[in-house]
């Protein structure tokens, strides 16, 4: 079992649980952008995009420049990579354990069969 997520990871998961925010991240992966540049491809209003950006910012996934007029938005990759690793590991926990159990139980069965035939 993989250790429980720390609070920031909760925010990362919440931020990622929305297709618009994932689209924004995908756009930012190609390079920084201003809010207006993010409005165009998402076909959303500027206040809506800003709202989504706040959620991403709280999760540490994006950072915004100080310059008031342009405020370019930059992607911050670290928490996302961590979320992916964590999720990947937890998914693997169930499926791979059960796969390995399959292999192991076959071995137990074979051993048991051998003992049984020896006893005869």
């Amino acid at each position: 079992m993989i250790p429980a997520a720390t609070p920031p990871l909760d925010l990362v998961f919440a931020a990622l649980a929305d297709p618009t925010r994932r689209a924004i991240l995908a756009r930012l992966a190609a390079g920084e952008a201003t809010v207006n540049e993010l409005v165009t491809p998402t076909a959303l209003s500027q206040p809506t995009v800003s709202k989504h950006l706040k959620v991403l910012e709280r999760a540490g996934l994006v950072s915004r420049g100080r310059e008031a007029q342009f405020r370019p938005v930059r992607l911050n990759a670290a928490p996302l990579a961590e979320a992916d690793r964590w999720l990947g590991d937890y998914r693997r926990f169930f499926t791979e354990s059960l796969d390995r159990l399959d292999t192991y139980v076959k071995e137990l069965k074979r051993k048991e069969g051998r003992h049984a035939s020896k006893r005869k």
């Binding site: 390079g31 996302l80 998914r91 169930f94 159990l101």
Partner: protein
Amino acid sequence: MPANANKASADRELVITRVYDAPARLLFQAWSKPEHLLKWFGPVGWPVTLCEVDFRKGGRWRMAMTGPGGQQNTPFGGEYLEIVPDQKIVFDNAFEDNPPKKMIMTITFEERDGRTTLTWHTLFMSPAMKDEYVGMGIEPGANSGLDQLTDVVAALKAAA
């Protein structure tokens, strides 16, 4: 399914089933003894390096795994709540550094014609806890949300 599993708890449950070409008795054994658990529990590359099991109702169990980095991870464990030989094992499970975040796991073994259906039922304390552990409320395996996440991460790595 535990007695408290009903529709109201569906949003905090995770159910995984698997069919094995082996009798229930062997699967039950594999779940009940450290010598066996050490051989299969945990994902590939994360061997169990601590395994203490007092296999009886009210007995405690404790395990830890060591990751590819070589460091032993936070131990986790709990108490056996119910044991029905060859049929059912119920235990709770939490990380030692976060004991209030518990899950109740119910493993059932149903044998038919020498084959056994194993059901691994996990009940989380809240839907939020399930989301945290399983990821956005989506079951392991094929799901578009996680695939998208993987794509985004791949794009990030490429851009870095």
